[in-house]
C-alpha cells in the first residue's frame, strides 16, 4: 500500500490541477471576451458584426475621452514621480541601517493605504479637501495629484526596499574609502545600483494611479473626470462598445508596463 503511494509524485494532490486550470480559465475568459467584443463591427454589444476598429476610432475622437485620458496621464505621471522620489528616500532611511526606534511606526504609516479600505480614505479626503477648497478657493488637479501620490507610496516603496535589501554595502564603503562625499557615493554608486528598483516602483505607482476609481471619484471637482471615473459614469444597463475599446486599450497598457516591470526586476538575478 505504502509502496503504491510512493509511486505517485508527492507534490500532486488529487483534483488540485483541475481546479487550478479551471481558475485560470475563469480568470481569463471574461477579459478575453471583453477584448474580443471591443473589435466588434456591429452597433450592439450582443451581436458580433465582424472585425472592426470603429469603436477605437469613436473613443479616440470623443473629446470627453481625450480630456479624461490626458488628465489620467498627467495625474499618473506626477503621482509616480512624487511617490517614487519620497519612497526612495524612505527606503534609504529604513533599510540597511539596522533597527532603530520608531521603525515600526514608519512601516505602519507607509503601508497604511494598503490596509485601510479605500472607501474610508476616499470619504476622509472628501471631507478634508472640501474644506480646503472652500478656504483656499483652489480646485485644480493638485488635490488629485496629492491624494494619488500618497496612496502610491507603498507600491513604490516595496520594490525599492526589496532591491536595497539585496544590495551589498561593500560598494558604498569602498566609495567612501576613496574619499567620495556622501552625495557622490549616493549619485554614482547607490543610485545606479538601485535604479531597477526605482524604475519598478515608479511603474507600479503609475499603474496604481492610472487605475484608481474610488478616491478619484470622491476627490475630483466637477469636470475632472479621469478615464476610470469617466468609464464608471458611462455605465448604463450594459457596456457601450466604446467603453470596451477604452478598457482594452488600458488593459494593453497595463500588460505592457508589467512585462517591462518583470524584465527590469528579473535582471538582478
Amino acid at each position: 500500500m505504502a509502496d503504491k503511494k510512493r509511486a505517485f509524485d508527492v507534490t500532486t494532490l488529487p483534483g488540485f490541477t483541475a481546479i487550478a486550470i479551471t481558475a485560470f480559465v475563469l480568470l481569463y475568459a471574461p477579459i478575453i471576451t471583453l477584448v474580443f467584443y471591443s473589435f466588434n463591427g456591429g452597433n450592439s454589444v450582443n451581436q458580433w458584426g465582424g472585425f472592426s476598429l470603429q469603436w477605437y476610432v469613436v473613443a479616440w475622437n470623443n473629446e470627453a475621452v481625450q480630456d479624461a485620458t490626458a488628465r489620467s496621464l498627467i495625474i499618473a505621471v506626477w503621482a509616480a514621480v512624487i511617490s517614487t522620489a519620497l519612497a526612495t528616500m524612505a527606503a534609504l532611511g529604513t533599510t540597511r541601517r539596522g533597527k532603530f526606534k520608531g521603525q515600526t511606526v514608519i512601516y505602519i504609516i507607509i503601508n497604511q493605504p494598503l490596509m485601510v479600505p479605500e472607501i474610508v480614505t476616499a470619504v476622509a479626503l472628501l471631507i478634508f479637501f472640501s474644506s480646503v477648497k472652500i478656504a483656499t478657493g483652489y480646485s485644480g488637479l493638485g488635490y488629485l495629484i496629492l491624494a494619488h501620490s500618497a496612496f502610491c507610496i507603498p507600491f513604490a516603496y516595496l520594490p525599492i526596499k526589496a532591491r536595497l535589501e539585496g544590495m551589498d554595502t561593500a560598494m558604498e564603503t569602498a566609495a567612501a574609502d576613496l574619499y567620495a562625499t556622501p552625495w557622490q557615493t549616493f549619485r554614482y554608486v547607490t543610485l545606479p545600483l538601485l535604479l531597477p528598483g526605482v524604475i519598478a516602483g515608479a511603474m507600479l505607482a503609475f499603474i496604481i494611479s492610472l487605475d484608481n476609481v474610488i478616491i478619484t471619484e470622491f476627490v475630483k471637482s466637477a469636470g475632472q473626470d479621469t478615464l476610470p471615473t469617466y468609464m464608471l459614469g458611462q455605465l448604463r444597463r450594459a457596456l457601450t462598445p466604446e467603453v470596451n475599446a477604452i478598457s482594452t486599450a488600458l488593459l494593453a497598457l497595463t500588460v505592457l508596463i508589467l512585462t517591462v516591470f518583470f524584465i527590469v526586476t528579473k535582471k538582478r538575478d
Binding site: 503511494k5 471574461p30 512624487i82 522620489a85 519620497l86 528616500m89 534609504l92 520608531g102 521603525q103 500618497a150
Partner: protein, 296 residues
C-alpha cells in the same frame, strides 16, 4: 554610526513620505472620527455641535412623528449582506486559490515564472475593467446565459446581474489573485519532503493535507484571507456595478450618506466602524502569524 543618528537619519529620510501620507491619507481619517460625533448640517456637511446622532443612526432610527426608537432594519440588512458576501468571497477564493497556488508552486522553475505572471496580470488590471468583464459574462444576453440556453439547460436567461449572486461572483473574480499570491508565497517555502514523510508514515492524502500542509502554510492562509476579506468588506465598485444600486454593501451605503443621503455624521460613523473592523482583523492577523513563526 551611533544608534541615535541612525534613527535620526531614518526619520529624516522618511519624513517627506510620512508628511504626505499624514496629510493625504492617515490624517484625514481622524477628521472622519471627529465628524462622526457632530450634528448633521441642513443640506450637507456638519454643524460644529457635539451629537451622538451619527452613531445612533448606525443601528437605530427615530420615527419622525412620534419619536419612537426602533432598529434600522435597512441598515442591518446592508451590514449582514456585506459580512455574508465577504465571508463567502473569502471561502470561495480559498477553495480556488489553494489549488491554484499549489499548482503554480509545484511547476518546474522555468514555467513557474510564466504561471505567476499569468496570475499577476489580473491582479494589476484595473478593477473596474475586470468588473465590466464579468458583467459582460453574466448579463442576460451575455456569454453564460447564451451558452446555457444553447445547451438546453435553461429555456430563458437567468437573471444573475443585479443580484447578490452577481456581486459575489464579481468579488470572487476580482479578489482571487489576492488569495493566490500569499498562498503561493507560503507554499513556495514549503519543504515537500514533509509530505513524503507523511506518506511514509501511512498517512492518507487527506491526512497529509490536513495534518501537514495546511498547518505549515497557515500564515499564508491567514494573510490571503485578510487580503480578500478587508477589500470585500469595503467593496464599492463591484457592488455598484453588479448590484445595480439596490444590492448595497457598506461601501455604497457610506457613499450614499455623502451623496443623496446628505448625512455626513452617519457616513463618518459608518466609515469609523469599517475602519475598526479592519484594525481588529489586522491585530488578529499579527497575533496568529507571530505565534506561527517558529523563530519567535
Amino acid at each position: 554610526m551611533s544608534g541615535r543618528s541612525k534613527g535620526l537619519n531614518g526619520w529624516l529620510l522618511s519624513s517627506p513620505a510620512l508628511i504626505l501620507l499624514l496629510l493625504a491619507a492617515s490624517g484625514p481619517l481622524l477628521i472622519v472620527a471627529v465628524y462622526s460625533v457632530l450634528e448633521k448640517g441642513d443640506y450637507s456637511g456638519v454643524r460644529w455641535i457635539l451629537s451622538g446622532d451619527g452613531w445612533f443612526n448606525v443601528l437605530f432610527q427615530r420615527d419622525i412623528f412620534d419619536q419612537t426608537v426602533s432598529l434600522a432594519d435597512a441598515n442591518l440588512s446592508i451590514f449582514w449582506r456585506s459580512v455574508k458576501l465577504s465571508i463567502a468571497t473569502t471561502l470561495i477564493t480559498f477553495a480556488f486559490g489553494l489549488p491554484t497556488a499549489w499548482f503554480i508552486a509545484t511547476r518546474p522553475p522555468k514555467s513557474r515564472a510564466l504561471w505567476l505572471f499569468l496570475i499577476t496580470i489580473p491582479f494589476w488590471t484595473n478593477l473596474l475593467i475586470r468588473t465590466f468583464a464579468i458583467m459582460e459574462v453574466i448579463r442576460n444576453q451575455g456569454i453564460l446565459n447564451t451558452f446555457l440556453t444553447w445547451t438546453g439547460l435553461i429555456s430563458e436567461p437567468i437573471q444573475i446581474l443585479y443580484t447578490d449572486t452577481a456581486v459575489l461572483i464579481g468579488m470572487v473574480y476580482v479578489y482571487l489573485p489576492l488569495m493566490v499570491l500569499p498562498l503561493y508565497a507560503a507554499i513556495d517555502r514549503f519543504d515537500f519532503r514533509l509530505i513524503e514523510a507523511g506518506y511514509d508514515l501511512y498517512a492518507s492524502r487527506w491526512q497529509v493535507l490536513r495534518g501537514v500542509i495546511l498547518p505549515i502554510i497557515r500564515p499564508g492562509i491567514v494573510a490571503g484571507s485578510i487580503l480578500v476579506f478587508i477589500p470585500s468588506l469595503g467593496a464599492y465598485v463591484t457592488p455598484r456595478v453588479l448590484g445595480g444600486g439596490k444590492n448595497m454593501m457598506i461601501g455604497n451605503f457610506i457613499e450614499l450618506q455623502f451623496g443623496q443621503g446628505q448625512n455626513w455624521p452617519l457616513g463618518a460613523a459608518l466609515s469609523t466602524v469599517l475602519l475598526l473592523v479592519v484594525l481588529i482583523s489586522l491585530v488578529v492577523y499579527t497575533r496568529v502569524t507571530s505565534k506561527d513563526d517558529p523563530r519567535g
